[in-house]
């Protein structure tokens, strides 16, 4: 008898709705919140950063699994009924979101210490940390082949089927790579030929263009060479003890700023401003460094961590890209990539 009642209750569509309502009421009543879109716990140590903030302030910043593009899309869809207080993006996408009028200006404490190229003059977005595009190499999975040192190396037949980079229509990191490699090969904001030519040669060695996080696949050896943010590679090597080497290619690479913006119509403006101030404090900046993303404020990397990054001489080859032209080229370059590299879809 009792089992019948339970199974009937389970079938009622009202019950889950009640649960959600109850959970929502609890959250709303019990604690102070700041909602950040794109707050992926395993990325850039947001897990550690938000836990630390909870400890020092009592305010909860819940995890959020949207990537940059999806975060911007959500802000756009919710423009009339904003739910988010702030969002975190890879640089060009944050720039684009600001352009679309999805942000309100705010200049957090410590603003003046951020280099000019890494912030919007009106405070519509600013960098919290940076990462450089690098080759993340699982040396064990690579077997006999030597560790590649340059973009040219990657075109050698020895690396057939070993390389992956994320679909640039999915992730901002990969868009930074695609835009950057075009510039490095001699292209520009209106001329994508040189980049696309390199990428279509590279295509012969690429095994997949992932549209989900492949961090674990690289660690396991399914993907021996991943073109991605250097911080992810350091994390594999030092936090997960993987057989991983991070390589800054000899021809040079690109710096990707990762930025914050305060959402227009943020439902918790006071708490949000306090949180955004804190993200630029020494404490928060050092915590980001634990996820191996380089804090935007110089000198906030703890000494034990500094030794784990490649020496600064290597990073001399990392160039900053112009976010305005990068954002302007986004749709056209992503479309060209889709048509020419991913192909007709057959």
């Amino acid at each position: 008898m009792s089992s019948i009642t339970t199974s009937e209750m389970r079938k009622s569509p009202l019950l889950p709705i009640l649960w959600i309502a109850a959970a929502g009421a609890l959250l709303g009543a019990g604690e102070k919140l700041v909602i950040q879109y794109d707050c992926i716990p395993s990325y850039a140590n947001w897990e550690g950063v938000t836990a630390l903030y909870k400890k020092v302030s009592g305010v909860t910043v819940p995890p959020d699994a949207k990537g940059s593009s999806v975060a911007m899309l959500a802000l756009e869809k919710e423009k009339d009924h904003p739910l988010a207080d702030c969002a975190y993006y890879s640089g060009a996408i944050g720039f684009q979101a600001a352009r679309k009028g999805l942000h309100q200006p705010y200049k957090p404490k410590g603003w003046e210490k951020i280099p000019d190229t890494l912030k919007d003059p009106d405070g519509l977005w600013w960098t919290v940390h940076t990462s450089a595009i690098a080759l993340i190499v699982n040396t064990k999975a690579l077997g006999e082949a030597p560790v590649p040192r340059s973009w040219a190396d990657l075109l050698k037949p020895a690396y057939k089927g070993t390389i992956a980079y994320d679909d640039p229509t999915w992730g901002g990191t990969s868009y930074t790579f695609v835009y950057g490699i075009n510039e490095l090969m001699g292209g520009g904001a209106s001329n994508f030929r040189p980049g696309l030519e390199y990428l279509s040669k590279l295509d012969a060695n690429v095994s997949s263009y992932p549209r989900e996080s492949v961090y674990n696949a690289v660690l396991r050896g399914e993907i021996p060479i991943w073109i991605n943010a250097d911080g992810n590679g350091y994390k594999m090597r030092y936090a997960d003890n993987g057989p991983v080497e991070v390589v800054i290619p000899t021809e040079g690479t690109f710096v990707m700023p990762l930025v914050m913006g305060m959402a227009k119509g943020a439902p918790h403006p006071k708490e949000t401003k306090k949180y955004l101030d804190w993200l630029l404090s020494d404490q928060a900046q050092a915590e980001f460094a634990r996820g191996f993303f380089l804090p935007v404020l110089a000198g906030s990397v703890p000494e034990d961590l500094a030794a784990k990054f490649l020496p600064p001489s290597e990073y001399k080859r990392a160039h900053t890209l112009d976010l305005a032209s990068m954002a302007a080229a986004a749709d056209a370059l992503k479309k060209a990539w889709l048509d020419e590299i991913r192909g007709s879809g057959r």
Partner: protein, 254 residues
């Protein structure tokens, strides 16, 4: 009543919203764009062909297991049924992940074959069209078995016995007794498997390299380009195809 309310809220309301965009300029332009040659139409054709093939083969493969489960009595039957239906509980992304673990570059199957034969066989085959198709079968066959079994159970055993006593050989019993009775169930199962494949997204998300299917294109247009109208038009065509398949194939049953 709660069911009707939920359906109205989460199915018909968004669907009508989508449908109404057809009558705006942007909406009808997008529909035209999707149906004329190019990447979007390719994705739709790929989706349709892949779903028809997956539905047909999974129907064929499910005949014997469904028959055995429906007509025979043996120990461990419940366990077997449970094992067969297990893949149904996996989401598409999980099935895609499984395909990578089994048939990827460093997958279990290629590693085993390398150990046995000393050669590289099937490594990375998860990312090919064959791999994608195999992954579709992985969740379509159990679905087909589970929908066929109850209808097979309803076929009266006496008919088969009578045909046998009249001297019919197995092949003609299959063609003249079994098929006419089971046809509606077979058609309905095909339609269901077809619709499920058409809407499947996670597997292609994980495995497709160049090949694209319509749900994947919806995702790319939405996340990569905020292109609502094309994504919406693709959804409409998908919904219409699935509705049509259901009407044409299992409409007669009710």
């Amino acid at each position: 009543m709660p069911l009707a309310l939920t359906l109205a809220l989460v199915v018909y309301w968004p669907l009508s919203h989508l449908f109404s965009t057809l009558f705006t300029r942007a909406g009808s332009e997008a529909l035209w764009q999707v149906l004329s040659a190019g990447r979007y139409r390719t994705s739709l054709l790929n989706s349709l062909l892949l779903s028809v093939a997956a539905a047909a083969l999974s129907l064929l493969l499910s005949l014997i297991p469904a028959w055995v489960l429906a007509r025979e009595r043996f120990r461990g039957q419940g366990l077997l049924r449970g094992l067969i239906s297990l893949p149904l509980t996996f989401s598409g992304v999980l099935v895609g992940f499984l395909a990578v673990v089994m048939l990827g570059r460093a997958g279990a199957v290629p590693s085993l074959l390398r150990f046995l034969t000393g050669r590289e066989l099937l490594a990375g085959s998860a990312y090919t069209l064959g791999g994608l198709f195999t992954a579709y079968l992985y969740f379509e066959v159990p679905r087909a078995v589970m929908t066929l079994e109850p209808s097979f159970r309803r076929i009266p055993g006496e008919l088969d016995a009578a045909a046998r006593s009249l001297g019919a050989v197995p092949l003609s019993r299959f063609g003249r007794v079994f098929l006419p009775i089971a046809a509606p169930a077979l058609r309905a199962t095909f339609a269901l498997a077809f619709s499920a494949s058409l809407g499947s997204f996670g597997v292609a998300l994980m495995l497709a390299r160049r090949f694209t299917v319509a749900p994947l294109e919806v995702y790319t247009q939405l996340t990569g380009f905020s292109n609502d109208s094309v994504a919406g038009a693709l959804c409409l065509v998908l919904a219409a195809s699935s509705f049509l398949a259901d009407r044409l194939l299992s409409g007669g049953r009710a």
